[in-house]
């Protein structure tokens, strides 16, 4: 039992100024196991991984690799020790091709002076064939987030590592892509590679991992074989209290008062003839494969991008939005799926992020920002969303991934919107906070705010929404409500070509 431990961490601590991110953590990883790490947002999961990868230096504690105490002083050294890391936040070079990105790490250790592009590309194809069919010569900036995430994973796979760390790799992946990844993970584990797998999704942990460790507030709570523990126990250990209802109540009495009426929305390249309505009190879900045009449709409604024709009626009033400013003024807002790219201002204070949508709310009559009001706003919304942070004047970059998402969400709520489009609203958010967000969405819907949720996580859509629209190739291919809302039905509508379409 003991001798197959490849990595042992004992009594490790790490602080960021006053924030104690890790407090005497113990952790051990066995050879060839898939070891899940779970914990609330800000529990210290990413911090521990950053320590293992040499990005951060611990304040105290011991790391023992293969029986030898080591001091991992840099990611390069971690790489030499056989540690590969797929980060929670995507860190690719946008202006460089997929192939070159994949081999950046390798190029780094190679001794040759010249770049052999043809070989790079050939090798990239090899690695990629296992994962997906992305063209390796395409520039990374032209890829969707999910494909970028796949590139990140491929990058780690090319390094011959003994320990592979995956920090929420599936947050941006579709179900099918995630399944492929699990297959690969299992194959690697069978080859004797140890995998640390961080996720907020219990299903993934219980279906694919061998053991699970739970962290809370920078401390190690428990490590168990998944066969010997229940998902609810893990959740309870994570949050330190009992969560009984993962999803809020569904809508009680359907109303036929229409909030949003979209008619024949068309954008030449990306979607055609999209028509749907949203009734009062209802939470509408939008499902579809990545690239089907889900985000494009709602961004089109908000005038964030694209040249859209068609009609949008909000509460019986025809909207003539020329740009997103108009949209915000009408109370129609969009929560972006790419939090780091366009959701938050990483180097600005939390309070300044929350107020960004409408500064008038925190300013006085002559346009002077009242920092007291601004902080109070951030504090109130932060409290509502259970945001974990040191000080509201700290930059958003100092927050854990899930807490950054909460800042992005607080920003949307700050303007008391009438209609919110949420694109992957709980990406990277922990179970506790997730059900909190779901509860807030339900509350808002009951108050009469229009809620449209896009999510790649089908259980979330099914659990939260009253009705789900399915988008395929830029068209609405169907909708499901009530008992029809099953993963199978949705996947069927999202992927199968029916006879009608193939004629057209």
């Amino acid at each position: 039992m003991q001798d197959d431990v490849i990595l042992r961490i004992s009594n490790l601590s790490k602080s960021f100024g006053p924030v104690k991110a890790l407090r005497g953590i113990d952790f051990e990883l066995r050879k060839g196991e898939i070891h899940a790490v779970a914990g609330e947002n800000g529990a210290g999961k990413s911090t521990l991984m950053n320590v293992i990868d040499g990005i951060l230096q611990p304040d105290s504690g011991k790391i023992v690799l293969d029986g030898d105490p080591v001091k991992i002083s840099s990611p390069t050294m971690a790489q030499q020790l056989g540690i590969g890391f797929v980060h929670q936040e995507i860190a690719l070079c946008p202006d460089v091709s997929v192939a070159e990105n994949i081999f950046m790490a390798k190029t780094n250790v190679s001794r040759s002076w010249l770049m052999d592009y043809r070989k790079l590309e050939r090798d990239a194809v090899d690695v990629f064939r296992q994962l997906s069919d992305i063209d390796p010569s395409i520039l990374v900036k032209h890829l969707s987030i999910s494909n970028q995430q796949l590139v990140e994973i491929a990058k780690a796979l090319t390094l011959e590592c003994r320990i592979l760390i995956l920090d929420e790799p599936t947050a941006a992946l579709t179900e099918a892509e995630a399944q492929t990844l699990f297959g690969i993970m299992r194959k690697l584990a069978d080859q004797g590679i140890s995998i640390i797998y961080i996720s907020h999704r219990m299903v993934e942990i219980f279906n694919n991992c061998d053991r699970v460790s739970v962290f809370r507030d920078g401390q190690h709570i428990v490590t168990q074989n998944v066969a010997e523990i229940q998902p609810s126990d893990v959740v309870n250990a994570m949050v330190g209290r009992v969560i009984d209802n993962l999803y809020p109540q569904k809508q009680e009495m359907p109303s036929d008062e229409v909030i949003l009426d979209v008619r024949n929305l068309t954008e030449t390249k990306r979607f055609r003839d999209v028509s749907f309505t949203l009734n009062k009190g209802e939470i509408l879900g939008v499902a579809g494969l990545i690239g089907a045009g889900r985000s494009e449709i709602v961004k089109g409604i908000c005038q964030l991008e694209g040249d859209v024709t068609g009609e949008v009626w909000l509460n019986g009033e025809k909207l003539n939005l020329r740009n997103y400013q108009d949209s915000i003024a009408k109370g129609v807002v969009y929560l972006s799926e790419d939090r780091k790219g366009d959701g938050v201002f990483l180097d600005l204070p939390i309070a300044a992020n929350v107020s960004a949508l409408n500064l008038e709310q925190v300013a006085n009559g002559i346009g002077l920002i009242q920092s007291g009001t601004e902080e109070a706003q951030a504090k109130a919304l932060g409290h509502k969303l259970n945001l974990k942070c040191g000080s509201l004047s700290d930059p958003v970059s100092s927050l854990s991934g899930g807490n950054q998402q909460k800042v992005a969400l607080a920003k949307m709520l700050s303007v008391n919107p009438r209609l919110i489009f949420l694109d992957e609203p709980t990406r990277g958010v922990d179970v506790g906070a997730k059900s909190e967000i779901h509860r807030i969405l339900r509350e808002l819907a009951t108050e009469g705010v229009g809620i449209v949720v896009i999510s790649s996580e089908l259980p979330e859509l099914i659990g939260v929404c009253d009705r789900v629209l399915v988008v395929r190739e830029g068209r609405i291919s169907g909708q499901v409500t009530g008992d029809e809302m099953t993963e199978e039905n949705i996947m069927h509508l999202a992927s199968v070509m029916d006879a009608q379409d193939s004629v057209a």
Binding site: V19, N358, E375
Partner: protein, 337 residues
Amino acid sequence: MSGDTKMDNTVNLTPAGSSDSAPLLKRMLRMRETGLIVIILGLFVIMSFASPYFLTWANMRAMSMAFAVDGLLVIGMTILLISGGIDLSVGSVTALAMVIAGWLFLSGIDPWVASAMAIALCTAIGAFMGFFVTRVGLHHFIVSLAIMVIARGACLLFTGGRPLGLYTLPPEFKFIGQGSIGPIPIVIVIFLVFVIAFDFMLRRTTMFRKVFYTGSNEKAAAYSGIRTKKVIFLTTTLCSTLCGVAGIIYMARFGSAQPTFGLGLELTIIAAAVIGGASLNGGSGSILGAILGVILLSLVSSSLALLDVSVYWQDIIRGSILLAAVTIDHYLNKRRG
């Protein structure tokens, strides 16, 4: 931008009230402005021992006159840097303002009207650059590099390469560059008004907050409903307008218009802004810091001059200060991260 209220009622990893004074102290030390003030005061003390002439009223006055007008340029540059841009043309555009105003005056136009026209021209130049950056989609660096060369060429064209003597400028016009209210030079008064006004606006107004948003993450700003192109257009234009104002003040002060004025000035200005905390990546910077940066650089120059250090050495020393300041800052930031 905001105070340091603790979030009391959220679940916080820090045990309540653990060490409240320590972070505050650290924050104070970290504040670049404080560091710069300490360095400037230190230099003051050293120089007052090193040169008996240093602490005289005449020297103080000369030194403050030296950085006051550049201070206007650094305000514009800092705001532009915060929005994510840069302007290499400040030196030439300032010279152009002088030359155009002087030339108009010599051709018989009232000096005030001539000045207003020159400032308007500079504003137009800024708008022109803003157009190329925001509508055509070129980079600030390239556009302003082109304007730098063009504006300098125009200066030489209008003057035939010789300074324009403007001895006939009416005294009330020269007063803005040479006069004093009591003991305080008008130039300093103008400088202080601009600094206080812009520092306040940058810290407090919604208008300038949008500059920070835009520079910090242009896409996130657009997704927050901010017209980022408009913001960038305006900051680019503002920088050139301030060049116009500075050019006019210089003209009043020198009583002449020199086509070769301000060669290399853009580098001093950018250096000052960066020493004062502006980031070339946009999203950060402060007027107070940038002004302290200008003061530091100009203090160093006049100290070296007083100590009879060769001009050639001065550039080497100023460059080294820039490098040192940016390096120290880099490490402070890294420690924070």
